[in-house]
Symmetry: C2
Subunit: 215 residues, 2 copies
């Protein structure tokens, strides 16, 4: 079986998004600064239909992550920024238009039922039965590959609290946001044990990977 | 002139101490886990009158920090764990007994006046005029060497907010505490800009150093 991996960019002060997210600024004020390291990469550009780009150590980290990933799990907020019934969600189609960059099955955790669909190379399913069911379906779809939990923070926290995460990879951007959405806001009083696997330096971000001890 | 450096260990979830600190557990529940990387080091042991110890990359980081440091600034809580008038503080002499490991001038930021003293190789002064005055005195004492802000979080936050910090070095322990005292809790809405200087991997901790842009 593959592993369940939280893979996320955050600021040095622990935020995965800035405050006051809107449709125009889905990552909140300053939140895009956490992702500046990724925008110019060859692997990222290829996934977004663009040519050229950096083939740096950061690119290698991203290629490795893409190559290992067999399914993606994300929260409703990461999919569309919305909440409540889908028919009232102005961005129900998601941030990525008709050609999402994932090219593996995507599972969106939501309280609101919705039929699955296929967008170009990316099948999307909407799961209302909670984090355990969503991860079970994502694991089945991923097979021998990994399930990547891409965000938001709430879904990552739910998966960690449920003892369902094997690995956490953080990309720490050299940024202080001062406010926003914390990756680790609600870990509570008995968070899991970690084991440091590796830290990789680049000029623009620090990649650190941890093993999570299963309870 | 030397630089003003925040140099501090923290958990992956951003805490520099666990919750519920006491005289018996000054770093709060689980807080000692943030410092496990340092206890076995040759440089740490030498400063505490012990022989032998690891000469690892972590030791080199600590030696480098010691060699650069000309004065140490810390908060009252880091000095004694207490608050209020010194005569009511059961630990007024500090955690380190008669031979503190610093061997450079130490400045303790406090609301309560107290005469300075010299403990073995470590002169200690108590500063009541606020963070700017404390840093000015520490810089004068440090001369060409650095002022190390060792903690706690509150003093580090005050110095950052006042635009008086040149460098932040964090040692990220592979630990989730779930609760406690955050290093970056009150950075507010206009935190300073950072520049990533280096990240150094070891088997037990990740050392990352940032330059802070002066306003």
């Amino acid at each position: 079986m593959g592993r369940v991996v939280i893979d996320i960019s955050l600021s040095l002060d622990g935020f995965v998004a800035g405050p006051n997210a809107t449709l125009d600024e889905p990552l909140g004020e300053g939140g895009m600064r956490l992702h500046e390291w990724i925008i110019g990469l060859d692997a990222w550009r290829e996934r977004h239909g663009l040519e050229g780009g950096e083939r740096s150590v950061d690119n290698r980290i991203m290629e490795e992550s893409l190559a290992r990933t067999g399914a993606v799990l994300m929260g409703r907020k990461m999919w569309s920024g919305g909440s409540g019934p889908w028919e009232d969600d102005a961005n129900a189609g998601g941030w990525w238009g008709d050609e999402p960059p994932f090219r593996v099955p995507v599972f969106v955790l939501t309280h609101h039922p919705r039929a699955g669909e296929v967008k170009a190379d990316t099948p999307v399913e909407f799961v209302t039965e909670g984090i355990e069911a969503a991860l079970a379906r994502a694991r089945a779809a991923a097979g021998e590959w990994d399930v990547l939990i891409a965000g938001g923070a709430n879904v990552a926290q739910q998966a960690l609290a449920a003892g369902l995460v094997d690995e956490v990879q953080v990309h720490i951007a050299p940024v202080l946001l001062g406010d926003g959405v914390r990756l680790f806001d609600a870990a509570g009083s008995s968070p899991p044990q970690l084991e440091l696997e590796r830290a990789i330096e680049s000029p623009s971000v620090t990649h650190i990977r941890y093993r999570v001890a299963r309870p």
